[in-house]
Symmetry: C2
Subunit: 214 residues, 2 copies
């Protein structure tokens, strides 16, 4: 494996922007989308517990229906792919056991997991329902960050979106029956030539105001 | 700009792991660290508001002092660099104005920012103190995700850490006087040959359980 030159990474991060208008005719290839799905799966999470589900909304009429519950932002319908990142609402000691079984399946039973299991189960049970939800939601933002970065490196556009009516999303996507709730959205695809935001310089505070040394 | 082959990205994501033992003798070059700082600056955030500060803790005795407030995890002292991602506790209408000034400085006054300003100020003022903090903390996890991904691509190891006593960090790092509070840590550097975790297979739930289609 060879390290990717840092300038190439920074060029990609400078190239990306929160895409406001996608070209509905340009589709992400299935090879590229599969790689992005793989990058989602590989997202790190607290204890490795992966308290999420990644939902690809493909049905065009459902996507059209979601627009009005997304502050009328057309990206939800127009982008090549609509990724909804959901958190599980059933993260408890049972989920921890499910995870520990998976660890044992992959790494073999090294007899070292009981303490780890109890520590994770203790962590989860010390949080109330809202606390678990907040913790899980934080993890989904790692996935969001990694997904956007990977997409940019592959020259695929994306638009992180917090502006949506979560209850309506949960209802339309049938999440309540699946113990899921919508955390954040990220339509992905290719920018339209007509997106004026594509040409605006990026706005960041100066580095010396954002980074400090102690 | 050329897209980076997706297999190269996935190889990097498979190579990375939450590094438990860093080699204290191996330091990230200043060129590489500068690039990582640049990647932090380029992190996307809600409305672009960048409600954070990235704090590099360089003082060895402070880093040593932080170990006991980090569940005795030595990464905090041993990794080449210790990144503390903090959220600002003063995100309010004034911060929004500060941001809008920066937008005008970079993009010129296009007279289109009053509505944008009011929308952002309305969003912030509709949240209570805890709500602002939660929203800001979510944004820092995008930064964490992007940072870890970029580090992996550059073959630099990292260890995301939520296990620390935030009050003690805030106290030791003097955050209270700076309107900051610790959100999450990410020591970075190079894995030690002695880290047995480096050789364990990665544990993820199967793709068909984590990704669904609607």
């Amino acid at each position: 494996m060879a390290a990717i030159p840092s300038q190439q990474i920074l060029d990609s991060l400078n190239w990306r922007y929160a895409t406001k208008v996608f070209d509905p005719a340009k589709k992400i290839s299935s090879a590229d989308w599969n790689a992005l799905e793989e990058s989602l799966i590989l997202t790190p999470s607290s204890f490795g517990l992966q308290p999420w589900e990644f939902v690809l909304v493909e049905n065009p009429s459902i996507r059209e229906q979601l627009v009005k519950f997304s502050w009328n932002q057309r990206q939800v319908a127009d982008a090549s792919h609509l990724l909804v990142i959901a958190i599980r609402t059933d993260i408890d000691a049972k989920w921890v056991d499910h995870f520990v079984s998976r660890v044992e399946e992959i790494r073999g039973d090294q007899g070292a997991f009981t303490g780890y299991r109890d520590m994770m189960a203790g962590f989860v049970s010390n949080l109330d329902e809202d606390g678990v939800k907040q913790w899980a939601k934080l993890q989904t933002y790692i996935a969001l960050g990694q997904f956007m970065t990977c997409a940019a490196l592959m020259e695929i556009d994306a638009c992180p979106m917090e502006g949506f009516v979560a209850d309506q999303y949960d209802e339309i996507l049938g999440f309540k029956d699946k113990n899921l709730t919508t955390a954040v959205l990220c339509p992905a695809g290719y920018r339209s030539d007509e997106d004026k935001y594509a040409h605006l310089p990026k706005v960041r505070f100066p580095k010396d105001q954002m980074i400090s040394r102690i």
